[in-house]
Symmetry: D2
Subunit: 327 residues, 4 copies
């Protein structure tokens, strides 16, 4: 039988839609298993400052549908130091918190991995990031909402593109990963998608545009912010030079991609993950991230999960789709 | 090398969001492979009436984001007769259409299966139904959009439930399948879900409500229309009798669940399926449905696909989730 | 100078989107004028039960975008009795609350009118109802959101109607008033609108349908729930009898019309009204409802405001529009 | 009796949501009055190139809910020349078009005013612009949709701002007018709004931020793109310098503000205006813009309508609201 009696839960790193659904699931699964559950505010910062709040079923009522995180999140340089982590551990011990669920991305898990080893402290992670770039899960919490936000935004831009026979270059999030760009690009019916993992340069793009269907007057190019070609503005300048008579506009979608009500899929994913994390801790698991692969719950060591998934493997299939669908 | 030169495409059965994205993908994949492509209006009805329109890349411009189907859909009793199917075949032959892509649900595939055998005619099906109840695919086109529509509607109802401390019984689609109810029920944070596959009767529901958290004033019960307890009104009457002082309301979501802009996931799924169907036909496949299992494209014989998936196998896991999450 | 030092605020009657924005504005305007402000829970019920909470700027943070009401609302029979109102008055006096802002509809204002006269107690009302049926304001808080909810729902239904060449009869809220039906009916491009104030019977409707454009295959009829013809089901039965070959479906939108995030217009209206109510009380106004007529803030005695606005005066203009626009 | 037999309709300038609803109303009102109606593509450009299409009731089916304009729009330098306008007039005469409805903003009306005088040609304008900056109407077609788009986008950003205790500077459209910023700023609960018409400089903003409520951790500043302080980036740099420890981010909403499904209000406004324009032409009106003031249809000479409405007159009231509501 597990000796865990009080689980602490925190969110860390950039917020993503569905984090609140995950917190709710952690809290209610703890109650189901007769555990105490403690909210830790502002991620690792709250761990160091002992910013703890007791939580019950009511604490997480009516939050499943809200974006952001009620526990707040922050960057925390102090947690990268040995002293910081020792203070965090002391605070946990003094508050009788004997296990942690951390919700975040690779930075969060790097810290958790270290902390878990240093203090032999049970920790399970939940993948909460819009980027979907963690190994060990088919989908991260927030990715589905983010690609729907992109699709809805670009649908609006398409109205203007169609009305004016314009070409729009739309930059979406993804510093190291083209996964948001790839899937949302298919979703909006983009004429081309530029991602860090595929080496389509501006010249290839120009070639594609020159050989495309002639009667197609409006076009949408999706560019991941981390693309080597340099982002939407650089691509835009090159196209304007090449096609001086075309009406070319740039739109950087920016921060709207992180927020908003989570989609049904993200709420369900977060709910499953939250329950699995609590039950995983009770079953003695630690130093792992919960994920879903082929619809089954799996646990992956933090050290594996934080290896960036890049879209290299999958991008040829998807980029071929884009090419076919733009005919 | 395939002898197919002209692919006909039709939508049949109840419409579902993403059908237009599927049509677009079939048309453009045909163009990519230098095939002609012909739109058939109103499903099998148009096959019998030779209601055909030639399609090109422009025909499907700017439809990926639209609900419904530009090819229209209809019930067709005549196609259930031998004479009807013979006429349909004659029309196809006369118009030089030598393969079909049919988009729909189990009724559509039953017809396709028969037609394909009788006339040795190449047909591939795409799963287009909000119910997600077909074997051979993890998801059908339209399911993800439908559960998001339910979630968004119930979020609104939750506002009123919270404000009035009310219990709402919300009926969602699913005559034979509880899959819409199960997943959307988790998504809205329902206190209980009643589906045909699980034998939770009204008595169990009453018991659940009586033993639940006392400080929880508002509640949402999701009932699949096909539930044996008899739908939302029957359940509502029983609860009103048992809890005469409670403020109990019923809402039947109805037809809004079929329409609307497809979600990103449904657009991507439909796009993949449409391309896979055309390339499957060219590779000699016939009498099969395209699906996606564990993120890979698979082909399943029609006769297998139309076996109703019920949620019996999965429902214990999900219903346990509901119980935990409502604490 | 006003002797008011502590304003109580409550919401009563059916909830409507924007009530939270109104509460926020009342609270912050009170702070701006150095007043205390007290939240009263569950409308007049909380007044009788002395269910009061002190509020500050933080109490209303991050609620402007939420449907429902954080102060909750309820029916209260006790407030209709002299004893109930005396108890309410005693509670207010004991808590040093010396003025009230009540947010609701005609039932709310009838109570407020009585209470204000009986105890010479300063009260100002804010029109919070989706029905838009109060005299003394061009728009009530929640109406704009409700008609947008109807329009978005019927847009989805239109997808199915178009795909199947169907006629849909959609019932919208409005027991005594056709104002939701009229404006949303124009918004969705309805073929006909049936409201209590206009005597278009089923026969007229049938006549309209028979003489309409022949190539129009799908149709939407909007029926207000209070229509004399008897609601969507009665109209539907009559049409099915007359047009047995037509594919006719009925959808009752129901409770989704009350909830949801308020539209920008409702947030702005509620914000203006909340500030105007506090400043009105300070200026000595009482027994009046705040409203907006021709973009200016006006105050109307409760006794005038609760005279139901019906759409009789305006309906000929709007119904002529419907006729023209359906050609 | 009017001699008008064939009305031409075009959209010009930047597209705005509701233009399609306006086109639909012009077409159907023409049919109602037994007139021919001709669509002119790409604004004045199509007039000069005789790019005309006959329209009937079916041409405008199922477009009321779509953003953009099915008639397309474009800039047209040639129409600014005498030769261009003479060619346009010749084309109209040759096609027997004897009156025009032009849908657009001030640039559109300047051209219409000139053309109408030069050739004594009947023209009525419809205000189609998201900026709401035309005299002669309380609201332009597209404004209500645009402010709802802003509000929905900033609600998402607020999720992140709350989660991270961040300050966001959000730039909205409005080169010469702060009307989008003012109303959407109230709607999102902004802490401050910077518009061209009010002289709140960066110093005033800093002062406001320093004296505001201390426990408020996240803040939203709305800046109109035309603000004299120089747009969101300039304001952001100044704030970062002043508050180096604060977490400050910038978001420029950009082109999403022009597109999207029109709100109910914009659809109704566009529908009324379209009918009024046709009936105005038949009644002999010309060289005027249709508008709505205090809920009544009014006609204003083009020369009056194109005087930019600025928010100077109304901004003190609104900016005081912002100040009160941010407490």
């Amino acid at each position: 039988m597990s000796s865990i009696k009080n689980i602490g839960v925190l969110t860390s790193g950039g917020d993503s839609p569905g984090m609140n659904a995950a917190i709710r699931a952690v809290v209610r699964a703890s109650i189901y298993h007769n555990l105490k559950v403690t909210g830790i505010l502002r991620g690792y910062e709250g761990l160091i400052q002992a910013d703890f709040i007791p939580m019950d079923g009511q604490s997480v009522a009516n939050i499943i549908q809200r974006g952001g995180t009620i526990l707040k999140t922050a960057r925390c340089d102090a947690f990268r130091t040995k002293e910081g982590r020792e203070l965090a551990h002391k605070n946990l011990v003094e508050s009788d918190i004997d296990a942690l669920v951390v919700i975040g991305g690779d930075g969060t898990f790097t810290g958790a991995d270290l902390f878990s080893s240093e203090f032999d402290f049970p920790i399970i992670g939940l993948p909460g990031t819009i980027d979907n770039d963690l190994a060990g899960t088919d989908f991260t919490i927030g990715y589905d909402t983010a690609i729907n936000t992109v699709v809805n935004a670009v649908d609006k831009i398409r109205d203007t593109a169609e009305s004016h026979d314009r070409l729009f270059i739309v930059e979406v999030m993804g510093r190291d990963s083209g996964l948001i760009a790839l899937r949302s690009g298919i979703g909006v019916g983009a004429e081309a998608i530029m991602i860090p993992e595929a080496k389509m340069g501006v010249d290839d793009l120009i070639c594609r545009l020159e050989t495309g269907r002639k009667d197609k007057a409006s076009k949408i190019i999706i560019v991941a912010e981390g693309d080597e070609a340099g982002g939407a503005y650089v691509v835009g300048e090159a196209l304007k030079e090449k096609f001086p008579k075309s009406d070319i506009r740039i739109s950087v979608l920016g921060h709207i991609q992180r927020g908003g009500k989570p989609s049904c899929m993200d709420r369900v994913l977060a709910s499953r993950f939250g329950v699995a994390a609590v039950e995983g801790l009770l079953a003695g698991k630690t130093d792992v991230m919960v994920g879903q692969i082929n619809r089954e719950i799996v646990f992956t060591p933090f050290s594996q999960s934080i290896k960036h998934i890049d879209a290299k493997a999958i991008s040829p299939t998807w980029l071929r789709l884009v090419e076919i669908l733009s005919l």
